[in-house]
């Protein structure tokens, strides 16, 4: 991630920047297939198990999920501002925007964790305390997917928060200056994690609430 020097395998800075950008896109393509496989499996059960599966979805906390969607979208807006102000040459503004991004990311994780706590109290956590008699086996399968999907998403978000915090520090200390691609790449990753949530939110929360 260092931008101190140009790699010996590159002829120009522009070439190095393009290579890093393409590398990030290729990585995100991999991630799309990773989450895509899980979502495809989820849809398989949703179609196969029908109403019972959808009914289980109504046990999720839609208010918290909606609040988190707003939080995450706002964080992406902050990230976009960080990239724009950084490339415009400012040093203070991107640090502030990045700090806001990371804090909103943390807020998402806190809300998510409180949601999981509520799930725990309602005995909705498979393999830990799932109440089969009360909720039924189909609901258990739904919640396996729910925890796999939101858990993997939260893991990606935590990694994102760490990188954003690192980036804010590096920009603040002048170690990363405009001209390189690091800030833009971190932005890409952050937006991707956001987009994953945009798919998960309707699939998980809105499924059982159309009537």
């Amino acid at each position: 991630m260092s931008e101190r020097a140009i790699g010996f395998q590159y002829a120009t800075v522009a070439q190095q920047r393009e290579a890093s950008t393409l590398g990030m896109w290729a990585f995100l393509a991999t991630e799309v297939l990773f989450f895509g496989a899980l979502i495809a499996a989820y849809l398989n059960y949703r179609i196969w198990l029908g109403d019972e599966f959808i009914a289980a979805a109504s046990l999720t906390k839609v208010a918290l999920g909606t609040a988190n969607t707003a939080v995450l979208l706002t964080s992406s807006a902050c990230m976009a501002m960080a990239v724009m102000t950084f490339e415009a040459g400012s040093k203070r503004a991107p640090v502030l925007w990045l700090t806001a991004t990371a804090l909103l990311g943390l807020a998402f994780v806190v809300i998510k964790a409180s949601e999981w706590w509520l799930d725990y109290q309602e005995h909705l956590i498979p393999a830990l305390n799932f109440d089969l008699a009360r909720h039924g086996g189909v609901a258990e399968i739904f919640f396996v997917f729910y925890f796999c999907a939101t858990g993997l998403h939260a893991l990606h978000l935590l990694i994102g928060i760490s990188i954003v915090a690192w980036l804010a520090t590096a920009i603040g200390r002048g170690r990363i200056v405009p001209g390189g691609s690091t800030t833009r790449l971190v932005g890409l990753y952050w937006h991707f994690v956001d987009v994953v949530w945009i798919f998960l939110f309707p699939l998980i929360y809105l499924a059982g609430r159309n009537g």
């Binding site: 395998q9 002829a11 290579a19 590398g23 297939l33 895509g36 496989a37 498979p126 086996g137 399968i141």
Partner: protein, 539 residues
């Protein structure tokens, strides 16, 4: 650039740290060679024991349980730790940057990290296999793998998961390198076919491997936490596992065979002293195979209970994916027509590839046909078919490439007489091993059984006899390659009279590959009356 003329990537730095922390793509390729060779012989030992076991109709070496562990070990090690990484990580790593006139891959440190993922994953899996083994077969079918399998399944699956990062990072590195690091004048249609086919392979690596990763994670979740994802006992759908598994594992066959096709496309023009016939067809067939290969996975599930209409579609698409492969075979053959053919060892391996791959491909058409597939599903016919593709095809291609680029990699020549002998031995040994298995399968011998009716014994004995010849053919190169390193005469920059950029620099190459970045002025494989036209020269 100002290095002394005898400095090579091998002697530029010394010491164990200079290897284990290297970011030079050529050194990393050699690290991979070490790993690949190790796992090839582990898998080979398991294969040897399988063939010994099957000499008699009853138990020979051990219990049925022991046999289950043997073929599982053979499959897992050969698929994930030899075949998938074999050509891309070794020859791809070494040769691809040189072919496009680059000094290294786009992300050298990521490349080294890939190797550590590969070795770590391999060692974890080997540990699981040695601690007691696994009895599921390499396919980990559900609900078998979560409820009934014994042994260190979790550890082995985790090892495969870890090695997946190596696949993904390697593919990503190649894709970016091919897009962004081509030398001036190296247009897409001037790229050697090996670069194109490695590129197509890389697309599969980055798009299919994550699906395997998710499948294995779900399997682990189910086995560790006993929560329903695939197992019918817990309300899950076992067919879903097969869909997800084969969504990766069919394209994985093309991860194994496309790089070999690339190697053959390099070798045939050089030793026929003619341009590759129909270059653009070969190139686009690689891309077509990678793309259509994603749409045929259901042919593994014709008897698994998927809908008949799905089976019909998968059958049609499986026929379709055979077309670009067939086009390639015609192109290689047409390249030979009126050529100035030389029968050096790489060319003999290439001939072996073309013949065996053709048989493997044609029997694949049998299996794409619904009625025939129902008859031979899970028999030795399948076993023979995919070994013709993966061993007759992919491994022959690996050896072809190894013999072709050996002088470039090591700077030494090997005894051609012994190499030709090994190539011929491997070809005949291979056919004797696997052709009887077509007959066995057609007669109804199921795969993965230790015991069989006595009337099948003659075919099993023939197969085992062939395997011993094949093993000799595979072991022989170890000796003459070792001899070549110690005693072989020095190779010139271009011992075969080939035209690729990698032959325009010294053997072995200097650390930075080229004294100055080359400028490319021609398409590859330019020969005039059997004489090579070099691309650019700093020889």
């Amino acid at each position: 650039m100002h290095a002394p003329h005898d400095e090579t990537y091998l002697n530029a730095r010394v010491g164990i740290r200079s290897w284990l922390l290297t970011t030079d793509h050529k050194r990393i390729a050699l690290l991979y060679f070490a790993g690949i060779t190790f796992f090839f012989f582990i898998g080979g030992i398991a294969a040897t024991l399988i063939r010994l076991e099957l000499i008699t109709p009853g138990p020979t070496l051990g219990s049925p349980d022991f046999y289950n562990r043997l073929f599982t070990m053979h499959g897992i090690v050969m698929v994930w730790f030899f075949l998938i990484p074999s050509i891309p990580t070794t020859m791809g790593n070494f040769i691809l940057p040189m072919m496009i006139g680059a000094r290294d891959l786009a992300f050298p440190r990521l490349n080294l990290l890939s190797w550590y993922f590969y070795i770590a994953g391999g060692l974890i899996t080997i540990a699981a296999l040695l601690l007691g083994g696994i009895d599921t077969g390499w396919t980990f079918y559900e609900p078998y793998s979560t409820f009934y399998a014994t042994g260190y399944l979790i550890l082995a699956v985790f090892g495969i998961f870890v090695s997946g990062f190596s696949s993904i990072l390697t593919g990503l590195n190649f894709i970016v390198t091919v897009h962004k690091l081509r030398a001036p004048g190296m247009t897409w249609y001037r790229l050697p076919v090996f670069v194109w086919s490695t590129y197509a392979t890389s697309l599969i690596l980055i798009l299919a491997t994550p699906v395997l990763a998710m499948t294995l994670l779900m399997l682990l979740a189910e086995r560790v936490l006993h929560v329903g994802l695939f197992s019918p006992q817990l309300g899950g759908d076992p067919i879903l596992f097969q869909h997800m598994f084969w969504f990766y594992s069919h394209p994985a066959v093309y991860i194994m065979i496309l790089p070999s096709m690339g190697v053959i496309s390099e070798i045939v023009p050089v030793f026929a002293r003619k341009p590759l016939f129909g270059y653009k067809f070969v190139v686009w067939c690689s891309i077509a195979i990678a793309a259509i290969g994603f749409l045929v996975w259901g042919h593994h599930m014709f008897v698994a209970g998927q809908s008949l209409y799905a089976s019909l579609a998968f059958s049609f698409l499986s026929y379709l994916v055979a077309v670009p492969s067939a086009i390639k075979v015609f192109n290689w053959t047409a390249t030979l027509h009126e050529g100035w053919i030389r029968f050096d060892a790489p060319m003999l391996y290439a001939f072996g590839f073309i013949g065996l791959f053709t048989i493997g491909g044609l029997t694949g058409l049998f299996l794409a046909a619904l009625p025939i597939d129902v008859h031979v599903t899970d028999t030795y016919f399948i076993v023979a078919h995919f070994h013709y593709i993966m061993v007759g095809g992919a491994v022959m291609g690996f050896f072809a490439g190894l013999h072709y680029w050996w002088p470039k990699i090591t700077g030494r020549l090997y005894p051609d007489y012994w190499a030709r002998f090994a190539a011929i031995l491997a070809f005949f040994g291979f056919n004797l091993t696997f052709f009887p298995q077509f007959i066995l399968g057609y007669l109804g011998m199921p795969r993965r059984y230790q015991s069989y009716p006595p009337e099948f014994q003659i075919w099993h004995v023939l197969s085992s006899a062939g395997a011993s010849i094949l093993a000799f053919g595979y072991a022989l190169p170890l000796f003459y390659f070792a001899w070549s390193i110690l005693r072989g005469s020095r190779a010139s920059a271009n011992p075969w009279g080939a035209t690729g950029l990698e032959w325009s620099t010294r053997s072995p190459p200097p650390p930075e590959n080229f004294a100055a970045t080359p400028t490319v002025v021609r398409a590859p494989y330019q020969y005039d009356q059997g004489k090579p036209c070099m691309q650019a020269g700093d020889v």
